[in-house]
Amino acid sequence: MGIEAEAVWDAGDMGCGELLLELRARVAGLRPGQVFELIAHDLGAPADIPAWCRLTGHTLVSQEHPVYRIRRKES
């Protein structure tokens, strides 16, 4: 995949609000520009994670369900 993630979190079957609330906290722990790897098996994840990135301003670097790589925004 070519991009090394600073942190990885396997969220298992967690989805929707539970997933996003925890994801917010974990990505907030990164420095700007660092990449976070999320593994999310929830059926809603392929639609939800890109939407979450658009809402929050983080960049979805790659999406190959169930693996999502997210680059933390600059500020």
């Binding site: 609000g17 539970e18 997933l19 996003l20 609330l21 917010r24 939800d48 809402l55």
Partner: protein, 120 residues
């Protein structure tokens, strides 16, 4: 895009499915960076009482108490409808974290800045 999001909830144990999903959606809004309000009215005000939600657990979801705790810890706010609360003679000295008893003006103020609102 509005930076606020409101979830209106009128149920508690009379429809624990709706009560649970309301907080799941609220946590999605909070997790997406929105200033998020859950407006508890009608039967929903019972959720403002500590311990009330302890035995509510819908299949496939986290326990409601956990969802509510995570919402409050994440900075979410719960407005509790004052007349609905009084009608049910609940205890104003015992409220769950993040809850505040308010009148309608507070809800109107929150929504008037352009907040969308979804109802359960």
């Amino acid at each position: 895009m509005a930076n606020r999001f409101c979830v209106s909830l009128t149920h508690a144990k009379d429809n624990s499915d709706k009560a649970t999903v309301a907080f799941v959606v609220a946590n999605a809004a909070l997790g997406s960076g929105k200033e998020t309000l859950v407006f508890l009215s009608v039967e929903g005000v019972r959720l403002s009482q500590p311990g009330y939600a302890d035995d509510i657990r819908e299949e496939g979801f986290a326990p409601l108490r956990e969802l509510m705790e995570n919402f409050a810890k994440g900075g979410g706010t719960m407005y509790v409808c004052s007349p609905c609360f009084k009608k049910r003679k609940l205890d104003e000295n015992r409220l769950v974290p993040g809850a505040a008893i308010v009148g309608g003006a507070k809800l109107v103020e929150f929504l008037s800045d352009g907040s969308p609102c979804v109802s359960y």
